[in-house]
Symmetry: C2
Subunit: 141 residues, 2 copies
């Protein structure tokens, strides 16, 4: 299996609420197939899809599916942007789990959960710059 993630799917109970949340953060949706809402990332896609249908596709009971143990991180270009995004997430109806603050390794980190409980890490890492294309390059410590 190649080391690649083509598509990230977030299963959601309330599609309209979830879409509104990401749009309130400034995201632009793609022209999406019926029943799924797709946001273009860089070289991949993020889809919002009804949780019940996702469970059905997998062939597992919906009660099995939980959130938060897999997190998605968005790295910022500037230190102060972490607090700005955390504030934006709160304003859009997200739950702030951890306010933006310095961490031991020298960066700034905050966490929020979207209205469905999917958890995002917002980070500024001076040791792992973003490329011109907006891609993350892991820099280690």
């Amino acid at each position: 299996m190649e080391q690649r993630v083509s598509l990230i799917t977030l299963g959601v109970r309330d599609m309209a609420r979830a879409v509104a949340f990401y749009e309130a953060l400034g995201w632009q949706r793609e022209d999406s197939p019926e029943g799924i809402v797709v946001f273009d990332l860089i070289g991949q896609s993020l889809g919002l899809y009804p949780l019940e249908k996702l469970a059905e596709d997998m062939g597992v009971p919906v009660e099995r599916l939980g959130t938060g143990a897999a997190t998605l991180a968005c790295n910022m270009r500037k230190r102060d942007e972490v607090a700005e995004v955390i504030a934006a997430a709160r304003g859009a109806g997200g739950e702030v789990l951890r306010e933006a603050g310095e961490v031991f390794w020298g960066g700034v980190v905050g966490y929020f959960a979207d209205p469905e409980g999917h958890v995002w890490e917002v980070a500024w890492n001076p040791f792992s710059p973003l490329s011109a294309r907006g891609e993350f390059r892991w820099g280690g410590y």
Copy 2:
């Protein structure tokens, strides 16, 4: 917030078992900081990190964190590769949730959970080819 996922973190209870699983699928780990194991994706990274520490970082009880409602998809270049990856996941100790099979929109899909319950979709989509770099281009239906 830019439309970008820099880093995907999977919280795991048993680091050694989780690392062994992804290595058994053929993944190569990066030179990683202590306490986290990083795999380079294309323009982003996937990290394995102890679930307890992830919960601590977020500031939430570990019991809150669940898996499966967010899935990661790896798109294949050839139709038959879906079944091959599903078989490899089973051989590596994953749980096959759905065997590779045709779906209504004309592609082939299978699902497996890694030993920690994180769910992967393995797909071949004739309408959304991969670019030369291995990136996914959403093609719609």
